[in-house]
């Protein structure tokens, strides 16, 4: 998709005035965080599992070249093939070639953020191949011709009425003339409409939550079972995955699975977690005849050597979205590209450039909730700060903000002054925000609070609290 991240302020404005979107976001806010908390509380080892998960991914990234080579060997040994794609263009071309070898006219697709990243659907359509999204959320946004607004719930911004309208418009030609209003009827109709598509598809394309080096396996995690039908029924199964999805062993994938579903939806395990290795075996009664893995780089190999390396631990669980006050106010589309939320604010500039995307890492109150819930302990706020520094160096921020920052830097280098001023500011802000516990406008930051509230500070500054605690402990 063409990024609109540069028009972030306009996007935000639109989002804040979209009543349906605001209702939907309120639902996200209410639902996911509570479910995650319940799941995490029910697992006494959760924090230790996070540490293990981080250790596994760090070890893998340290040996990424070797694990990728092993993965490739094992895919080939089980009868499949690996294709390396340096750029989105390469990935699209490889997939098109594969589809054409299979004589494909229709391909079914499981949910894949990487397919979104490389803009696969429009490319296939241009070449006469019809891609059919099968995840209900992806199917809805495909009908609406919109990008996903959340990595685990792509259509989370749509109301039931909007879905009902979309189905009425698009399903009429399929003989479904009755406008449905019940959620269960809408789900049943989508199932009905998609069933024949699974069966007629020549190729099934899925993403991967993990690639396993030890066995040459790809893993998908879904609740609907759509990805499973996509990878079982057609003659060819193509997996598109970015190269940091790799983990060493089945045991390593199992450990990360324990934090993934809990962080994402509050489930212990998603309904379907499926490990696919190669094409069907000689005596298998079903399954695809061919298995291909397209490994996408798109700058990740470079990222590995930068201050943004830790974002490569991301397992796309969505927890940082569900706990982000910015995401909760504006939703995913305002970020203007495929990835949104705190994770997107860090990742998007690596892909479309900081010039285009510099507003995203700036739109943060640095509340730290994203890092606190991230199962992979990714220091998202720190990385947003890195981007802000780069944006500042490149003079990408408006003049007023840059002046403010320089003033702040000057003050911050003078500890006594800093303490006094921030102490004053905190007391001022606490007073201003008293009735609501949130601030509707901020001095010098009107551009920020015009469209969002800042949680009012509670009590003292951090440094004052720190000093007091230190005294208390001494």
């Amino acid at each position: 998709m063409e990024p609109t991240s540069a028009q972030f302020h306009e996007n935000v404005d639109k989002a804040l005035h979209d009543a349906d979107l605001q209702t939907a976001l309120h639902r996200v806010d209410k639902n996911f965080a509570a479910r995650r908390t319940a799941a995490v509380t029910a697992m006494p080892e959760f924090e230790a599992l996070r540490d293990e998960a981080v250790r596994i991914k760090d070890h893998t990234l340290d040996h990424l070249d070797l694990y990728l080579e092993t993965f490739e060997e094992n895919v080939i040994a089980s009868g499949g093939q690996v294709h390396w794609a340096a750029t989105p263009e390469d990935a699209r071309q490889i997939i098109l070639d594969l589809c054409q070898t299979a004589g494909a006219r229709t391909v079914t697709k499981g949910k894949s953020m990487i397919a979104e990243e490389v803009a696969l659907n429009p490319f296939l359509e241009q070449h006469g191949i019809t891609p059919v999204e099968t995840d209900l959320g992806e199917y809805i946004i495909q009908l609406a011709d919109e990008p996903p607004s959340h990595i685990i719930g792509p259509a989370i911004h749509k109301t039931k009425e909007q879905v009902s309208d979309l189905f009425a418009t698009h399903h009429e030609k399929l003989g479904k003339t009755k406008r449905l209003t019940e959620g269960s009827d809408l789900v049943a109709e989508a199932r009905d409409v998609l069933r024949p598509r699974y069966l007629e598809a020549d190729v099934g394309i899925t993403g991967a939550n993990f690639l396993i080096a030890e066995t040459g396996t790809s893993v998908i995690v879904t609740n609907e079972g759509n990805g499973d039908l996509t990878q079982q029924l057609p003659r060819m199964h193509i997996v598109i995955a970015s190269l940091e999805k790799i983990v060493p062993t089945l045991e390593d994938a199992s450990t990360i699975l324990r934090v993934l579903a809990r962080s994402a939806t509050g489930q212990q395990m998603s309904v379907y977690t499926t490990f696919s290795t190669g094409p069907r075996r000689a005596d298998d009664p079903d399954g695809p005849d061919a298995y291909h893995v397209v490994l996408l780089d798109n700058g990740r190999s470079k990222l590995l050597g930068t201050a943004f390396r830790d974002i490569l631990r991301c397992i796309r669980c969505g927890a940082c979205f569900n706990h982000c006050p910015v995401y909760a106010s504006i939703g995913g589309h305002a970020y203007g590209w495929v990835y949104s939320g705190p994770m997107g604010a860090v990742l998007t500039p690596t892909m479309i450039g900081i010039e285009e995307a510099h507003h995203l890492p700036s739109a943060t109150p640095f509340c730290g909730r994203c890092e606190a819930v991230c199962p992979m302990r990714i220091p998202l706020p720190k990385m947003m700060r890195h981007w802000r520094e780069q944006a500042f160096d490149k003079k990408l921020d408006p003049a007023r903000q840059r002046v403010a920052l320089r003033v702040w830097a000057w003050v911050a280098q003078r500890p006594a002054l800093y303490r006094r001023l921030t102490g004053l500011a905190v007391r001022y802000l606490a007073w201003r925000g008293r009735p609501l516990g949130r601030l509707r406008d901020l001095p010098l930051a009107g551009g920020w609070t015009d469209s969002r509230d800042l949680p009012a500070p509670q009590g003292q500054t951090f440094s004052a609290q720190w000093a007091r605690q230190r005294q208390g402990n001494a």
């Binding site: 996200v28 340290d62 259509a155 789900v187 609907e224 029924l233 212990q268 379907y272």
Partner: protein, 230 residues
């Protein structure tokens, strides 16, 4: 795919691996290779939650209560010979057609004992209402079935029919995912992984419309487990 395309892909591969090595910087290559092959050889367990380290009876009870919490149902029978009657009873209880498609793995059971139940063995067609398959293992920790592909186990039978009945032997119930992998490794030996290993925790569901849970999104609306106690 022409020769050039393939050539480019090979160089794409080398370029990507080259950039990764540059990004990783200087390292002791020998030590790195040793660390990697040791991990792959021994595939050590990481932290496994305590919850599933319990005795046999408790483990089975844990599996049952966990999978029931995911909207699946469980019936217990004494021995394999009782399975066909349990399938017939389940279909009758839910007013479902008395017509089941069987995985070859369960075809040997005494289906003739149920003359009113029409059965067929093999890969399902779209309209088949009921699939009966056999589990490879089950995991108590999360209430999860492990279903693996093979000559006797078509994977589409776990997905296409609206109603999925799974036959599970009591001794197949393990504690953790790691326990299940151990069993698969032992079972497969040199054959390595099967094409598919599915972990199933409940019937198909979606929350993509207003975050409300609906069952039967694309896969089975109902998941029923027949637990054979022998």
């Amino acid at each position: 795919m022409g020769a050039t395309a393939t050539g480019e892909r090979v160089s794409g591969r080398d370029a990507i691996l080259g950039t990764i090595r540059t990004s990783l910087g200087a390292r002791d290559d020998d030590a790195a290779r040793k660390a990697v092959s040791a991990r792959l050889q021994t595939h050590p367990r990481n932290l496994v939650p305590d919850r599933s380290a319990v005795g046999d009876a408790e483990r089975v009870a844990m599996f049952v209560s966990q999978i029931e919490a995911t909207h699946a149902s469980v019936a217990r029978v004494a021995e394999p010979a009782d399975v066909p009657a349990a399938v017939a009873a389940y279909l009758a209880q839910h007013n479902l057609p008395a017509r089941a498609t069987l995985a070859p793995d369960v075809a040997d059971l005494d289906w003739k004992s149920q003359p009113l139940l029409e059965t067929r063995v093999g890969v399902p067609v779209e309209s088949d209402p009921v699939g009966v398959t056999a589990a490879f293992a089950a995991i108590a920790e999360t209430g999860t079935l492990m279903l693996t592909s093979g000559a006797g186990s078509p994977m589409t039978l776990n997905l296409l029919p609206d109603n999925h009945v799974v036959v599970l032997r009591r001794r197949q119930v393990t504690g953790s995912l790691e326990d299940a992998w151990d069993r698969l490794r032992t079972h497969q030996g040199d054959a390595g992984m099967p094409r598919t290993a599915m972990f199933v925790s409940g019937p198909s569901s979606t929350a993509d419309i207003e975050l409300t849970l609906y069952l039967g999104a694309h896969g089975p609306r109902r998941l029923h487990i027949i637990l054979v106690e022998d």
